[in-house]
């Protein structure tokens, strides 16, 4: 093809593209794709690449997890006792079920059954909401116990405070879902009143999902209190152990402890004076130290155990953000399905969102044993 001719055909294209474009391109096919297959393949490859970036994003935290767990295994076994396995297991089950409904939604979309897509994505969103509700209980419980990231870690598990009523943190967590519940229910009411079928199909599942958040909260609270006796005892015992250990060490070796306290807590004793003494007293240690040794702090120091919770909050927190993002894109799919947009030639968005959702579940499948099931 010659240059001139190419130019000519361009001119040609400009004469045509306004009307010619619309005829052979259905609304769901973007103008720059030749056919539905190319569009679907592009989307599919795109979402897989995106999932790879997500995996790598989390892999950074998994690396941190692996590194610090191998450096300080004792912190991990000690700290994971404070996580509630039952709640973790329930959340795992909820997410697995949501994967099933998601896969079902994809199948419905392929068959062009838009109502089925609405029902299935609705159920998926509801599961996500239950998950978040349970997570909110877990977070608020831990915050109340002072099981916080290292810098704020002040455990009160030995003398757990008995709360009258709900934790204030749980109330904070419930504000947004509560507002959503009110708004969505009202919107649903309007849909019923105006007999707007599409709006009804959207608002219905979403209101149920918002309600499901509170279902999750209730479930979490019930199990947390039901297990409180056992769980509390266990934690109490563990904390007491650790105190004893720290104390015993302090007793029989308080000469070293004196030095190591200062050396290991530059944050607490941050004045130059303290550190001067540290280096003086630990001179013997230092000169015997192997090359490039990592100075290992005291296991039972509260701030040392906080490292576990740092990683716990980072991993589950980023995962929870992904769940929330998942809810948003699922809602988008739900809206499209309620409008009846999917059919056997155009179901890409459901498929892509489905893949994303499976990945988010998959990451939780790893998080659950790695964080909760350490013995």
């Amino acid at each position: 093809m010659s240059a001139t001719e190419l130019d000519a055909s361009h001119n040609h294209s400009h004469g045509h593209d306004d009307h010619g474009h619309d005829h052979d391109h259905p609304a769901w096919l973007a103008h720059h794709f030749d056919d539905a297959e190319q569009q679907f393949d592009s989307g599919k490859l795109g979402i897989w690449l995106f999932l790879i970036t997500e995996v790598l994003f989390f892999s950074g935290m998994f690396c941190a997890y692996a590194m610090y767990r191998s450096l300080h295994p004792e912190i991990w076994t000690f700290s994971s006792q404070f996580l509630n396995e039952t709640l973790g297991a329930i959340n795992t089950g909820v997410l697995l079920f949501s994967s099933l409904t998601m896969a079902w939604a994809v199948r419905c979309a392929m068959l062009g059954q838009n109502r089925g897509v609405v029902a299935c994505t609705g159920m998926t969103i509801a599961c996500a909401a239950i998950f978040l509700g349970v997570k909110a209980v877990e977070y608020s419980h831990k915050i109340d116990l002072g099981l916080l990231p290292a810098g704020f870690y002040v455990p009160q598990v030995a003398h757990p405070e008995h709360h009258e009523g709900l934790s204030k943190w749980l109330i904070y967590f419930m504000i947004v879902p509560g507002l959503l519940l009110v708004v969505l229910t009202a919107w649903y009411g309007q849909a019923v009143a105006t007999a707007n079928a599409v709006q009804k199909q959207i608002a219905g599942p979403l209101s149920v999902s918002a309600l499901c958040f509170f279902l999750g909260v209730g479930l979490g609270l019930y199990l947390e209190s039901g297990e409180a006796a056992e769980h509390g005892d266990k934690a109490h015992a563990a904390a007491a152990d650790s105190h004893d250990a720290a104390h015993a060490e302090g007793d029989h070796a308080h000469e070293e402890a004196h030095a190591s306290d200062a050396a290991h807590e530059p944050k607490d004793a941050a004045t130059p004076a303290a550190t001067e003494s540290a280096s003086t007293d630990s001179h013997a240690d230092a000169s015997h130290a192997a090359d490039n040794e990592i100075i290992s702090p005291d296991v039972n120091k509260p701030n040392a155990a906080g490292l576990f919770f740092s990683i716990y909050y980072c991993m589950t927190g980023v995962h929870a953000i992904h769940i929330i993002a998942g809810i948003l894109v699922l809602t988008w799919v739900l809206v499209k399905a309620a409008q009846g947009q999917f059919h056997s030639e155009y179901f890409g968005p459901v498929d892509y969102v489905g893949l994303y959702w499976h990945l988010v579940d998959f990451i939780w499948i790893y998080l659950f044993p790695l964080l909760y099931l350490i013995t």
């Binding site: 308080h254 000469e255 402890a257 004196h258 030095a259 306290d261 200062a262 530059p266 004793a269 004045t271 130059p272 004076a273 303290a274 550190t275 001067e276 003494s277 540290a278 280096s279 003086t280 007293d281 001179h283 230092a286 000169s287 130290a289 090359d291 490039n292 040794e293 990592i294 100075i295």
Partner: protein, 320 residues
């Protein structure tokens, strides 16, 4: 005060400062070897470039012949030759590195403490200095720790450096082969005065070094100065501040002569006798606010001489 860079060493060759450690000749030789390899390759490439640009330049009546598109022999040649050279460079570099990482069994150990933005060197007999003094022809090992951020100790004349990472003890060894004063830099960015975090490395003969060390570890004559000197070296500084702030134990500032509440309900005035007793037998008397921490202090009985206790008392007295 003399600015350290006024004493700085001038470069001894085009590329390098003086060769003042056993590593320097090896590093310099290796550097120059790689340099010449690079110069040869660079010259070939640039000469080829200039020749081709000139020879095949666009000009009337000249038509290039665009047939030469690939040549397996050439491709293999310019893959294999650089590979072999690079392998040699790698191996040679590893040998030099392993030398730097393997100190002899007998070394003279100096503790290095890096803070923003000071160097502190502590010798086996407890002497402290802000410049690094070392004897010539003797393997030295630095055991380095940082109290705040990452620093890096670099002595260009010795051709070696190692980072000082908080939470780790990094070590570095070398053996000086030349007497003189050499720059010592911090080479890991550490904040405002990073560029001023410099010290001198003073390499002396063994006799001079011993003399310097004896002088540096000799306590001052003046009792108050001597007390301060002891305060900094005997570990008091770790728990007792002299500026009124609370570290672990009570601060010394303005405490002499005050009346204190003891844990057994008595009121005691802080005097010479009280200080002496606190040093020799700390658990016998605890202030009410520090009763829980009193076990953290060890007795100094047998560790401090009477005159040293007097000096410390004089120092505490002087802190108004």
């Amino acid at each position: 005060m003399i600015q350290p860079w006024l004493l700085a060493d001038e470069p001894a060759s085009f590329w390098f400062p003086e060769q003042a450690s056993t590593f320097a000749p090896e590093v310099d030789f290796f550097f120059h070897a790689v340099l010449w390899i690079c110069i040869v390759f660079f010259t070939l490439i640039v000469a080829g470039m200039i020749y081709f640009v000139w020879k095949f330049r666009q000009r009337p009546g000249y038509q290039g012949s665009p047939e030469a598109l690939h040549n397996n022999t050439l491709e293999i040649t310019w893959t294999v030759i650089p590979t072999l050279i690079v392998v040699w460079i790698f191996v040679r570099g590893v040998y030099g590195y392993l030398d730097m990482m393997s100190p002899p069994t007998e070394t003279y150990d100096i503790e290095v403490k890096a803070t923003q933005w000071n160097w502190s060197f502590k010798y086996p007999n407890g002497a402290l200095s802000n410049d690094l003094h070392i004897p010539i022809n003797k393997p030295i090992k630095l055991i380095m720790r940082s109290e705040d951020v990452i620093h890096s100790l670099f002595i260009p004349a010795f051709r070696c450096k190692t980072d000082i990472v908080p939470g780790r003890l990094n070590t570095m060894w070398f053996q000086a082969i030349k007497e003189g004063s050499f720059d010592l830099y911090c080479t890991e960015y550490c904040g405002t005065k990073h560029s001023l975090m410099q010290a001198m490395t003073v390499v002396q003969s063994q006799e001079q070094f011993d003399a310097w060390l004896a002088e540096a570890s000799k306590p001052p004559e003046d009792p108050i100065e001597w007390g301060k000197w002891l305060y900094e070296r005997q570990g008091c500084k770790g728990c007792h501040s002299i500026d009124g702030s609370l570290v672990v134990g009570p601060s010394f500032k303005g405490s002499f002569g005050t009346s204190m509440d003891m844990s057994d309900g008595q009121k005691v005035t802080m005097d010479e006798q009280y200080i002496r007793n606190s040093i020799l037998n700390p658990q016998s008397q605890a202030r009410v606010n520090f009763a829980a921490k009193i076990n953290q202090m060890n007795s100094y009985a047998g560790k401090l001489k009477e005159e040293e206790i007097s000096a410390l008392t004089a120092f505490i007295k002087s802190l108004k």
